[in-house]
Amino acid sequence: MTKFVYADNAGTTSISKTALDAMMPYLTEYYGNPSSIYSLGRKSRAALDSARETVAAALNAKPEEIFFTGGGTEADNWAIRAALEKMSAKGKHIITSAIEHHAVGHTLSALEKKGYEVTYLPVDEKGQISLQELEKAVRDDTALVTIMMANNEIGTILPIADIAKIAKSRGALFHTDAVQAVGHIPVDVKALDVDMLSLAAHKFRGPKGVGALYVKKGHAIPAFIIGGGQERGRRSGTENVAGIVGMAAALEDAVRNMDENIAKITRMRDRLIAELSKIPYSRLTGDPVNRLPGTASFVFECIEGESLVLSLDAKGICASSGSACSSASLDPSHVLLAIGLKHEVAHGSLRLTVNEANTEEDIDYILEVLPPIISRLRDMSPLWEEKMNVRV
């Protein structure tokens, strides 16, 4: 039997048994519409209310500050558009980082075409922005600062509390895309003092297609989807009851087991980093210290990431790459370029992301299989040949 190792947990995760078990009744016998007043509907309503309390508690928020959405991308889109509409009197300037997920980055480039001005803060080789530069960038007409809590490609964790403080000191709203952070590292909206925060269930072993937007009490944000008035009139459409229940169950689990999970996952990640960094002409990408527990991201020179991913797949290992060839564009990922990697080096990126469903045996297998794949691809690479000739 061929082995199977799933090491792409920043892409999505397997659904946990807890989440699935919690969802099943709402996919079967409790199919009522939460807006219906009869008992079957009230059953769904109660499940929604309870899920909202659970999600709120996990973030140290109030239930009325949680709006359920159809995922992280929707939450990001909503947060940005709502903030700009709300702050229209203040101005049309937005500050973000150069390493945001496309859910934020592409939303902002669309807004640039409609007359908004966007400042993209550069990052250093670790993927960190400079707080001094942020301070300089904030203006009187800055309506919104939106900066991610943790990066999906390189795992860098940004100092959101410090960033939020600077943004808010100048009267701008602050939003963070915390899709990679929630469920993996402590996220306390009160301590961070953010105005808005996005999360997605499928990144912490909940179902796909469901997420949430936290909006600090007092910010009456405009509606995103108009219709029957669900989510207090802000996000209409019959609620994804089972999905929301699954998200709450997964998040409750993730928060309850967080310390234990972080310890276990960090151990696996650190083994990957220690061993794979020994490969010549390879290096870790992202911040070595302020780093998501499960993200081991690398570049291997003289090979191309898609070839690596396909070769790993042939051995039953799921991983991902930010190389150009693994996407529709011919450029490598904007994140890898933003941390200062040359195009030719960024092409050789590999991201292995583990979670609590992985085992030390998975790591053994990756460490057994990956180095020979790298050697094989390098042996057929003219760039490697050049590099070796120069060295001799």
Binding site: C302, I303, E304, G305, E306, S307, L310, S311, A314, S323, A324, C325, S326, A328, L330, P332, K342, H343, E344, H347, M380, S381, P382, L383, W384, E385
Partner: protein, 142 residues
């Protein structure tokens, strides 16, 4: 997204490596774009007696290199020059649209090696081989 044929040529590439007694060597692409192909040929009496390649690139880049070398091995120069990127794509049972440029690169790689063969004999290759385009040209064609 890849056909079984592409995966076969990616996993078990034919003619991979170097050719110590090559009398024609061509290289196309550039590292910035993420794919480079280097083709080695041993040409005797206008026939490609032997061929090897080395490729830095994605699955499609490796598979098209492998297939292109298979298609021209043992053929005359004239036949090899008539091999189009389309023939490579067809032999691989199709490529995703974003990967068509890899087949163009493979065609150019073959032409680049043949151009080198003529150059080594002091013959201007351009009237015979045509323009061997660089990577950027290829990338604008899909």
């Amino acid at each position: 997204m890849y056909s079984d044929k592409v995966m076969d040529h990616f996993s078990n590439p034919r003619n991979v490596g170097e050719l110590p007694d090559a009398n024609a060597v061509g290289q196309v692409g550039n590292p910035k774009c993420g794919d480079i192909m280097k083709i080695y040929m041993k040409i005797e009496d206008d026939i490609i007696k032997d061929i090897r390649f080395k490729t830095f690139g994605c699955g499609a880049a490796i598979a098209t290199s492998s297939m292109a070398t298979e298609l021209v091995k043992g053929k005359t120069i004239k036949e090899a020059l008539a091999m189009t990127n389309k023939a490579v794509v067809e032999a691989l049972e199709g490529l995703p649209p974003a990967k068509i440029h890899c087949s163009v690169l493979a065609e150019q790689g073959i032409k680049s090696a043949i151009a080198d063969y003529y150059k080594r004999q002091g013959i201007d290759p351009e009237p015979i081989v045509g323009c061997v385009c660089d990577c950027n040209h290829c990338h604008t064609e899909h």
